[in-house]
């Protein structure tokens, strides 16, 4: 039986569907799960708020991509606007526009989850078969160093000189042309995002996807979810078309991803002991740019191919961070920092010779680090409140120093921060200029593409939202399968962890039908 991908915008009257399992959200978690469920013969319906795009729509055009495939058209930010939040919104979720970097969950994170959060049966050895399976299906393999772009080579060169052991990372690609357009949707279907991999399998096995359908709430009573209620949205404006879509199922899965997934529960009056939306983590990202004599071309080539985990563990009192590169097409490059006018045009004119290193803070590990909270505004908007606390500013200060040091080691002739008043250094001797630099909200650019948590998995109902099988503690037939179940951030890019957890959840969700 072949399934379908239908836009709710084509519905002309209220639509009701019945199935075994209804999944909200078509991203990393929902897609791997859906494929596993149809493989087991279940009738599955998936609802996705965004549109369905294919390679013929993907032309490497960043403005188009942000406008059509990112949450809030790329303008999502934390409540105080201090952190720009990038998340996907189309069939395939964030995997359609992510940068294809893949890592298994570090062993120390699994150990931390077990020790501190009481997570059961999610150990490296128990997860290994799931990692193996998704790595095979998504062709997750190390990206050869000789194909790294200039921006990543900067990190490699600097990191090696400083003895930080930078390494080639893995990517989920097959036939990659090194176009550098991962964030705009892969123009050659090389990136094994969900739309061309697990969802493709699932639709061929019978999955019915309804896109342009924004789910507004779960209908539930006692310990049972009974239906989801959504509405058709206009693909162009995202505004409601007023046509209701209702799905009744035996089992429901929230795979809306961090922020939106918890927000859906909050809209439905599901509060999970007041823990829904709490402990949301973002790997807060800061960046430092280096100006080189050589051409770097930070807009071309695989966005990320080198990683450096030298600073992941900075001791028990400190927040760790890891280093990567970020792709810089003109649009995204122009938005970072605070410069304007002639000084900014000058920066943009030199963009071809600029390398940017990013540091991603590993939040949620320190006992006092509870991350952010998802909130519903009275006008229906969703907000993430993410306070920038002392442990993060300390981490930012340390990370800036190391990123600047790395650029100089890699041969940069000038290094600049993305502060409100940029700190410019012309040699390593000037690193001390960073000693008095301010760190905090709106002191420097911060962003995230890794939103995690908000429906934390754990060992007890009082301290977590879902159990280790990803089932809501208070429900018999409601699961969460996406990045929101992560009890902490990871210290590596999150997609492979989510794929593997979803792969593991296939048996558990099927058993609940």
């Amino acid at each position: 039986m072949t399934g379908s991908i239908v836009s709710a915008a084509t519905f002309t009257s209220p639509t009701e569907l019945d199935c075994d399992v209804c999944i909200v959200g078509s991203g990393a978690g929902g897609s791997v799960l859906a494929a596993g469920l149809v493989e087991q013969g279940l009738d599955v319906v998936m609802l996705e708020a965004g549109s369905h795009y294919t390679r013929k729509d993907f032309k490497g055009n960043q403005p188009w991509a942000f406008d059509n495939m990112y949450q809030e058209r790329g303008a999502r930010a934390t409540e105080d606007l201090a952190i720009t939040v990038l998340q996907g919104r189309s069939v395939g979720g964030s995997t359609t526009i992510n940068w294809s970097t893949c890592y298994r969950t570090p062993d120390r994170i699994f150990a931390h989850w077990a020790d501190v959060h009481g997570v059961k049966d999610v150990s490296p050895s128990m997860m290994a078969p799931h990692f193996d399976a998704v790595e095979r299906r998504l062709n997750i393999k190390e990206w050869p160093v000789d194909r790294a772009n200039g921006n990543n080579r900067v990190l490699l060169r600097g990191g090696e000189k400083l003895g930080w052991h930078p390494h080639a990372l893995k990517r989920n690609v097959r036939g990659c042309m090194n176009s550098g357009y991962c964030g705009e949707g892969c123009p050659v279907d090389a990136k094994q995002g969900m739309a061309v991999s697990y969802l493709d399998d699932a639709v061929r096995g019978g999955l019915r996807i309804v896109c342009n359908c924004e789910v507004e709430r779960f209908e539930w009573s006692e310990r049972k979810a009974q239906a989801v209620h959504g509405v058709a949205v206009d693909p162009d404006s995202d505004h409601s078309l007023g046509i209701p879509v209702t799905v009744r199922a035996k089992v429901f899965v929230n795979s809306g991803g961090a922020i939106n997934g918890p927000a859906l529960f909050l809209r439905s009056g599901i509060e999970g002991n007041g823990l829904i939306g709490k402990r949301t983590f973002v790997h807060p990202v800061s960046g430092v740019s280096g100006l080189y004599d050589e051409h770097i071309g930070p807009w071309a080539g695989a966005p990320q191919s080198i990683g450096c985990h030298h600073f992941n563990d900075r001791g028990p009192e400190k927040m760790g961070f890891f280093l990567e590169a970020a792709p810089l097409q003109p649009m995204l490059a122009s938005t970072v920092g605070f410069l304007f006018g002639g000084a900014h045009s000058e920066f943009m004119r030199k963009l071809g010779n600029v390398g940017v290193t990013i540091a991603l803070g590993i939040d949620g590990i320190l006992p006092q680090d509870v991350g952010g909270t998802v909130l519903l505004k009275s006008d229906g908007r969703v907000w993430l409140r993410y306070p920038i606390e002392a442990h993060l500013t300390e981490c930012l200060a340390a990370a800036h120093k190391e990123m600047a040091r790395c650029h100089f080691a890699a041969g940069a002739k000038q290094v600049a921060t993305l502060h409100a008043e940029a700190i410019v250094m012309n040699s390593e001797a000037e690193l001390s200029k960073l000693d008095s630099a301010p760190y905090g909200a709106h002191e420097q650019s911060l962003f995230t593409a890794h939103v995690m948590g908000g429906c934390a998995m754990g060992g007890e109902a009082g301290t977590s939202v879902v159990n280790s099988d990803l089932q809501m503690w208070d429900f018999d037939n409601l699961f969460v399968v996406d990045g929101s179940v992560l009890p902490t951030s990871l210290g590596v890019n999150p997609s492979e962890t989510i794929y593997a957890l979803a792969h593991r959840a296939r048996e558990r969700v099927a058993a609940a039908v």
Partner: protein, 208 residues
């Protein structure tokens, strides 16, 4: 001209407000309006004009670069916000009203005109003050408006040539990789080959 931050630190909020007392009435000062290039969907003509003035200050053009108003960046954003949650457009409209307001400008920026009536140097100084203001909220508003304007301006292909960005390559003629089943079948282990020996080599990138 003193920057907002310096001024704020010197007098504190109370002092700054006292300095503003003679300025009451400034809020009625005239805006200098520019004609929208198409029907406005989000902003009032005054807000559109303020956005145009701000965009031209942030992205004045020069050399081979067009100015923001050459590209009607304010019009692009007016259209964008009409396709977002109405709260976003309302928030930004309020921010533009604050920037334009001569009274608020007198209190914190020592300028006694609406933003649109200021000459380019004063606008430049005002935005510099906003970007480094001691008041976090002003920095936040500046950063949000700046982000939208920069994205719309530098996302426009007309700006790319001047900065050496080669533009977007066309990959439409490149075939998709084979379906997964075929790919895996093609890897079926030959007698002397282990199952793990999947070829790692990727096709080399072409220059399209």
């Amino acid at each position: 001209m003193q920057t907002t931050r310096r001024r704020f630190l010197k007098y504190g909020l109370g002092g700054v407000l006292l300095l503003a007392v003679p300025a009451v009435g400034l809020s009625l000062r005239r805006s200098v309006l520019v004609e929208p290039k198409s029907a406005l969907l989000t902003f009032s003509p005054r807000q559109y004009s303020t956005l145009t003035a701000m965009a031209d200050t942030l992205c004045p053009g020069g050399g081979k670069l067009p100015s923001a108003s050459d590209l009607d960046i304010a019009g692009t954003l007016d259209m964008l916000f009409s396709r977002m949650h109405p709260g976003v457009g309302a928030d930004l409209a309020a921010a533009l009203d604050l920037l334009e307001n001569a009274l608020a400008g007198a209190v914190l920026d020592q300028r006694f005109q609406t933003f649109t009536a200021c000459d380019a140097d004063v606008r430049d100084e005002v935005l510099r003050d906003w970007s480094t203001s001691a008041i976090t909220l002003r920095r936040a508003v500046y950063k949000a408006l700046r982000g939208f304007i920069m994205a719309a301006y530098w996302g426009n292909a007309a700006t790319w040539g001047a900065i050496g960005y080669p533009g977007i390559a066309d990959y439409s003629a490149v075939p998709s990789p084979p379906p997964f089943d075929e790919y895996i079948a093609a890897l079926t282990p030959e007698p002397e080959r282990g199952a793990d020996d999947e070829p790692d080599s990727e096709p080399q990138e072409a220059s399209p």
